[in-house]
């Protein structure tokens, strides 16, 4: 295993495994978000917020998740730099070759856009709940009122709420595009692909990307326009 991590396939394996790990996080996050749709008093959502804030397993996973993000970003940067170095001269006539998707050629840019959104998202939620402790409190339990925090963001800021809504929807779409290529790509890199599974993985990735994009876009839209 000596030089495994310095090999091209080794680095790509790290990308794929960290990517799949982040995908699991996205699914957990999304399923909690969707609770808002099922209880307009916010009680159900706040229970989940309370659980996520106090459960010891989640507390352990928090730094692991942060490491997952960092590893994914650091290795993406290393690979992208190496790839640019491998192609010192560009073609004069722009490439007309058909690739699988536009996303496949722009994963780093898409990833960067998602990262920029992530910073905003952390400032708007994580910082208020975990660091500055300025998030509203539920009187009865003393826990954070995540429901009020999120609905305020999309309803109480006037025009800015519409801007936030647009940013969150855009982020959902970009994340969907990133996953459309990243999801099947992860399996390809691990080696779990062949003639038959290629089209199956494409279909799975497309469905999954839509679930993520729609799932994450539907909430800001719902809160901005229907609450």
């Amino acid at each position: 295993m000596s030089n495994f991590l310095s090999s091209s396939i080794g680095k790509k394996l790290i990308m794929s495994l960290s990517g799949l790990f982040l995908v699991v996080f996205l699914l957990v996050h999304l399923s909690i978000n969707l609770l808002i749709l099922f209880d307009s008093t916010g009680g159900l959502y706040n229970e989940a917020v309370h659980f996520m804030g106090t459960n010891p397993l989640i507390k352990v996973m928090e730094p692991v998740l942060a490491i997952g993000f960092i590893v994914h970003i650091v290795y993406a940067t290393i690979l992208t730099l190496q790839n640019q170095k491998a192609t010192p001269t560009k073609y004069n006539v722009t490439q007309k070759t058909k690739t699988f998707s536009w996303a496949s050629k722009n994963m780093y840019i898409l990833g960067f856009a998602v990262l920029a959104f992530l910073v905003l998202h952390i400032i708007q939620f994580y910082v208020k709940m975990k660091i500055t402790d300025t998030a509203p409190i539920v009187e009865a339990t003393g826990g954070h009122d995540g429901y009020k925090l999120v609905t305020d963001l999309f309803t109480q800021h006037g025009t800015l709420s519409y801007v936030y809504c647009a940013v969150y929807v855009l982020a959902g779409i970009l994340l969907g595009l990133h996953i459309r290529h990243g999801f099947w790509s992860a399996f390809q890199t691990i080696g779990w692909n062949n003639y038959t599974w290629k089209s199956r993985l494409f279909t799975l990735a497309t469905i999954f990307a839509w679930v993520i994009a729609i799932g994450y876009s539907i909430l800001p839209l719902y809160m901005t326009f229907f609450l």
């Binding site: 090999s7 690979l79 790839n83 491998a86 790509s185």
Partner: protein
């Protein structure tokens, strides 16, 4: 029916004296090219007209001119081996071009394939990858065994043959935005991994060839699929998945 004649073409071509000089594009006008002629015949006609004018002819790689040797390269109008799929440049015909068109011809742009002269690039890095493990060791002393003694399942034989169709032309790396040689390496590894003769050196082969590929400065595959689309032998990226599998399982056993 007689082929249509392209009255005038503008050939914008990369000129570079040698590996150490800076190159630039030159545009040459040529007249009366039959649409029935092949692309390389058009290049020959152009070169003859250049010689007549006292200009040095454009250097380009070519050999068998029947799509089997992998020698011809050329990045034509933004695509490796030109606008058709599943062909090499020598199989491309002038009927794919219009009268009065400007055709841009560039050499492969891959860091590991430096330009030697004009449109000729040094593709010996592919040979070096092969030398690292793309072969089987056989003892040729004594009687040859009967070929039919080694039975190979039909599906395995078909897949091995699909991979073995690789002619090492370099279109995969040339079309890849990362200049990755993964499809080439995958084809060679996959071809031998599918056959009984390739089993002995199987693990070492994957490790050695990938290590050599990385060492030579080819990029990392990001699964864009450009290689598969431009491969004249349409080798599938399913072989890249097999290469990944071979490499990872060999590394885990280390």
């Amino acid at each position: 029916m007689a082929d249509k004649i392209l009255k005038k073409l503008y050939i914008k071509v990369w000129r570079q004296k040698n590996a150490n000089t800076k190159g630039k594009f030159e545009t040459y006008e040529i007249e009366n090219i039959s649409q029935g002629s092949s692309f390389l015949e058009m290049m020959d006609i152009m070169n003859e007209s250049l010689v007549a004018k006292g200009i040095e002819p454009v250097a380009f790689d070519h050999d068998c001119r029947e799509g089997i040797c992998g020698m011809c390269s050329l990045y034509i109008n933004g695509r490796a081996h030109g606008p058709d799929t599943e062909i090499t440049t020598c199989q491309l015909h002038m009927r794919r071009f219009e009268d009065g068109e400007t055709i841009t011809i560039e050499p492969w742009r891959v860091g590991a394939f430096p330009v030697i002269k004009d449109l000729i690039v040094d593709r010996r890095s592919y040979d070096k990858i092969l030398h690292a493990g793309g072969y089987i060791n056989v003892n040729t002393l004594g009687n040859l065994p009967d070929a039919n003694n080694i039975l190979i399942p039909y599906e395995d034989y078909e897949e091995a043959m699909d991979a073995a169709a690789c002619i090492g032309c370099g279109a995969c790396a040339a079309s890849c935005k990362n200049s990755s040689a993964m499809l080439f390496v995958a084809a060679k590894v996959s071809h031998l991994a599918k056959l009984p003769q390739g089993q002995v050196e199987r693990e070492n082969r994957a490790k050695a060839m990938v290590a050599k590929m990385d060492e030579l400065g080819f990029g990392n595959c990001t699964n864009t699929g450009a290689c598969e689309a431009e491969c004249p032998k349409s080798i599938s990226i399913a072989h890249i998945a097999r290469l990944n599998r071979e490499f990872l399982s060999a590394k885990i056993k280390d």
